[in-house]
């Protein structure tokens, strides 16, 4: 069920100019929604279904401007992915945003303390993405 869906941007040129966002979510439906939300906001998107695939991609693809990841995923949670990114000298500069359907303050704080840029409650909306990207990606 993995997909490197969307390395090509739809309907746009200058894909090297658009910020490239890596979206990580094990839910097929949510992956499709977050991809469309980001593309509507004019970002180039690559969507993967696990932390493991995210790290594989980050290893080979140098130009990722932001990572947006679901928190609850099997095998590697979004928090664990966040930690690995922040612990890596190559990757630690990349802003990481966590999404979750559950509003758990201790969870949110733990992610922010670990260096997450922001924490979004699902279902994520267009206004969340615009606000976020305006701040994180200029």
């Amino acid at each position: 069920m993995a997909s490197y869906a969307g390395s090509k941007s739809t309907g746009g040129e200058g894909s090297s100019r658009e910020p490239h966002v890596l979206a990580v979510d094990d839910s097929l439906v949510d992956r499709k929604v977050i991809t469309s939300l980001l593309r509507k906001s004019k970002y180039r998107v690559t969507a993967v279904d696990s932390g493991k695939r995210a790290l594989e991609l980050l290893d080979t693809e140098p130009n990722v401007n932001m990572i947006i990841t679901d928190y609850s995923m099997p095998e590697m949670t979004g928090y664990e992915l966040l930690k690995k990114v922040k612990e890596s000298s190559e990757l630690c500069q990349i802003p990481v945003v966590i999404m979750s359907s559950e509003n758990v303050p201790t969870r949110i704080n733990r992610c922010l303390e670990e260096g997450a840029e922001d924490f979004l409650l699902k279902p994520v909306q267009l206004s969340d993405v615009s606000r976020l990207c305006n701040r994180v990606l200029r």
């Binding site: 739809t10 839910s27 439906v29 499709k32 929604v33 469309s36 593309r39 359907s101 909306q125 267009l126």
Partner: protein, 152 residues
């Protein structure tokens, strides 16, 4: 059939889906994501949901029918279903999932069990209504009309 009649039927159906609480505001968000760069988005994501949830619900039902019910597994399935239904605005499905999880958190097995049939029913209803909506869309477009925009 007359285009304006099709359009009227479409608007009425969509309005009733919101009024009955089958759809919520998140569905409108999805409609806003559909554009000339992403023309089939709503149909595609809802179709994914049909497939994905249909599978989850079948797993739920078959798990419940076993000798030793694995409630943890069931809860995981319901969590997934809750997430994806919330993402597309399938409010009633989301709501039954929420109720299930509240029972689960209280270790109320009977309560959990009582949610399964309603969950399946809401899914069947949702699927048939959305399929009707998409059919109307196709008919309107085939007749040369445009899809009416809902105003909220």
């Amino acid at each position: 059939m007359d285009v304006s009649m099709l359009q009227r039927t479409y608007s009425d159906l969509l309005t009733s889906l919101f009024r009955e609480g089958i759809l919520n505001q998140q569905f409108t968000e999805l409609q806003q994501l559909q554009d000339e760069n992403n023309p089939g988005f709503v149909f595609e994501v809802v179709s994914l949901f049909f497939e994905d949830s249909g599978r989850l619900i079948n797993e739920l039902i078959s798990n419940f029918n076993q000798q030793a019910v694995d409630y943890k597994k069931i809860d995981a399935y319901v969590h997934q279903l809750k997430g994806s239904s919330a993402s597309i605005g399938a409010e009633k499905i989301r709501s039954v999932c929420q109720t299930f999880r509240e029972y689960y958190d209280k270790n109320d097995i009977q309560g959990c069990y009582n949610c399964i049939q309603p969950l399946n029913q809401e899914f069947v209803t949702f699927k048939s209504k959305l399929e009707a909506l998409f059919t109307l869309e196709q008919q309107i477009v085939a007749a040369g009309g445009s899809i009416p925009m809902m105003r909220h």
